[in-house]
Subunit: 335 residues, 2 copies
Amino acid sequence: MTIKDLAEKTGYSVATVSRVLNDHPHVSERAREEIKRAVDQLGFQINTNARQLKQHANSILVVVKGTSNELFAEMVETIQTLVDKTSYPLHVDYMDEDCNEVLRAIQLLREKKPLGILFLGGNSRNFRKDFEKISVPCVLVSNDASGLPFDNLSSVSTDDRQAARCAMDSLIALGHRKFVIVGGDRTVSDTGRLRYEGCMDAFRNHGISYDEELDYQGVRFSYQDGYNATQKLIANGRPFTALFAAADVMAIGAIRALHNNGLRVPRDVSVMGFDGLILSSFLVPQLSTVAQSAQEMAKRSVEILIQRIEQGGTACHESVPYSLCQRESTRRIDE
Amino acid sequence: MTIKDLAEKTGYSVATVSRVLNDHPHVSERAREEIKRAVDQLGFQINTNARQLKQHANSILVVVKGTSNELFAEMVETIQTLVDKTSYPLHVDYMDEDCNEVLRAIQLLREKKPLGILFLGGNSRNFRKDFEKISVPCVLVSNDASGLPFDNLSSVSTDDRQAARCAMDSLIALGHRKFVIVGGDRTVSDTGRLRYEGCMDAFRNHGISYDEELDYQGVRFSYQDGYNATQKLIANGRPFTALFAAADVMAIGAIRALHNNGLRVPRDVSVMGFDGLILSSFLVPQLSTVAQSAQEMAKRSVEILIQRIEQGGTACHESVPYSLCQRESTRRIDE
DNA sequence: TTGTACGCGTTATCAA
DNA sequence: TTGATAACGCGTACAA
C-alpha cells in the first residue's frame, strides 16, 4: 500500500495524493475528499523512511539519557505538551544510561534531520569529544554547558552546587553537625561532582569537619546503590545525625538501610534527598528534598531551542530555581 | 557525505563501498581497508532512512506502552541482553500509556520492517480492532491473548486473576475479613478487570461480603490515583482491616493516604500491592506484594518470538509463575 | 573482484 | 487544479 496504489485506486496522480497527505493547497475539495476516504478505507500508512529521505523533516528531537529516570519522564511530558502547541513534530529517543548520547544524536540527526535537539541529561566528556559534529541548535537540559566551547549548545539546569549547599545549610541550621553523604561518582557524573562540591562549600563555611574518605560514598543513582552505600557508611562506625543523598532514589535506599540497622528517620537520622520526584511526597515519612523545577526546566529548554531555531543567536545558559522541601524525613536536633 | 562521495574519494564505485559497509564478501582486502579508512576519516554516517527503504531490516521491535513503567523498564533490560546474544538488531519504541500501541506498531512495521514484534503491555480492544493488519509474529507480554483470534499473536503473562485471588486468600488466611480494593478501571484495563475478578473469586469462596460500589475504586495506575482512591474509601466510612492495590504504585499512594488519616500500616491496615517493583522492597515498611516474574516473562517472550520467526508455527499462550511476597505491610490480625 | 543502473516510496519542480 | 518526473541515499541484480 503506497501512494502509487492510492493514486491508481482513486484515479489521481501520486502528486495529488501527496498533496492531500501533506495538507497542501491547490487541491480541489473533491479530490481531497476522495483521496482521504481511500486512505481510511485501505488503511494506508505513510512510509516515513521515504518521506524523511526526501524531506528536511522539520522536527525537534529529544534525546533522553536513561530509560527509567522519573525526573526526565516528568519533563518529557511537559515538553510534549509544549511542542504540540507548535507546528514542529516531536521525536523522543530513549537510550541507556551509559550510552554515548552525542554519538546517538549524530546518528539520529542523519535519520530524522531535526531542526534542533534537546538533550535530557548528558556527560560533558561526551560533548567535548564529539559535539563539534553537530551543527543544529541544541539545548542540554539539567546540566550546565557554559563551560563547553560550542555556540550552538545552550543549557538549562539547576545550579547543583548551590542547591546542594543550600540543602546542607538547612540541615546545619537544624542543628546537625555530623554528616554522611551518599553521592554520585564524581569521576563520571558532572552532577555528582557539583552536588558534592556544594556540600563541601557549606561545610567549609560553617567550619564543619568532614572526612571525604570515610563519610562519602560515590555510587550509581539507584535504590540498591543508595542502600549499599549507607550500609558501608554505617559500618564505618562514625556517628552521624544527618544523611544527604544526591538523588531521591538513593535517599530511599538509604532510609531502608538505616531502618535495617535500627536507626529511625528522622528520629535518629535526618535524611535529605535531591530531585523532588513525585514519589518522594508519597513516602512515609515524606522525603525532605531539594526539588528541581522539572516543569520550568522543560519549559525554558523548549523556548530557548525554538528561539534559536527560528531566530538563530548564540548559546545561552540558564539556571532555573530549585526549592527546598523540608518535609518529614528531617528534624531539628538539640545540640 | 554519502556513499557516492565515499566512492569518489576512494576511486571505487558505490557498489564496492556498499559492500564494505555491509561486510559483504567479494571485496579485495585492499579495497576494504582503503574504504574503511575513508569512512573513519570523513566521519561518514550511513543514512538509515535510505537503507531501510531498500532493506528488509531483520530486526526485532519492542513496543513499550507507558514511558515510566518500572516493571516494563526491568523487562526491557532483560530483553536487550537476551537479544544481543543473537544476531538480530533490536529496536525499542516507547509510547504514551493511552496511545494505540497496535497502530503505532503498524507504523513502525512500515518503517523498520522488523521480523517480529514484542508488545510490552497492550489493550485487547486495540488488538481486536487493528491487529489483523499485522502479519509478522508477535508476542504480547504481560497480558493474555489466548482469547484473541490471531494465530501470529502469542502471549506471555502472569495469571492476573489467579494471582490476585492468591493475594486475597493470603490476607484472608491472616484473619482479614473487611477489605477495600484500589484497582484499575475495569472498563479500559484488562489487567484491572482480571485482578478484580480474582479478588471476587476469593471473596466468594470464603463467603466474604463485599460491596462493589463502596469498597472498590477503579483508577489509573499512579501514586496520586492510589492516594485519592484511598481517601475516598476512607471517607465512605466503612471499616476495613486490609487494602489491596492492583499495583505497587497505587499501594504506595494508599499507604500515604492511610497515614494522613491516622491509620498505621500494618498495625491498623494491612496493605498488599501487585507487581513486585524493585522499589517496593526498599520501602519502610517493605511492601507485601504479588511479584510478577519480570525476568522470566521477558525471557520466554524472546524465546517464543525468535522461535516463531525462525521456524514458524502458530500462536502459543503461556503464563509465568508469580510469587507472593509477605513482607512488612501486612500482618495477622486476631478475630 | 568491480561497476552500472534500477528501484525502494516519497516530495517537489516543473509544465500543462 | 493537476500530472509527469527528477531527486533523496542506499542495496543489489546483472554485466563486465
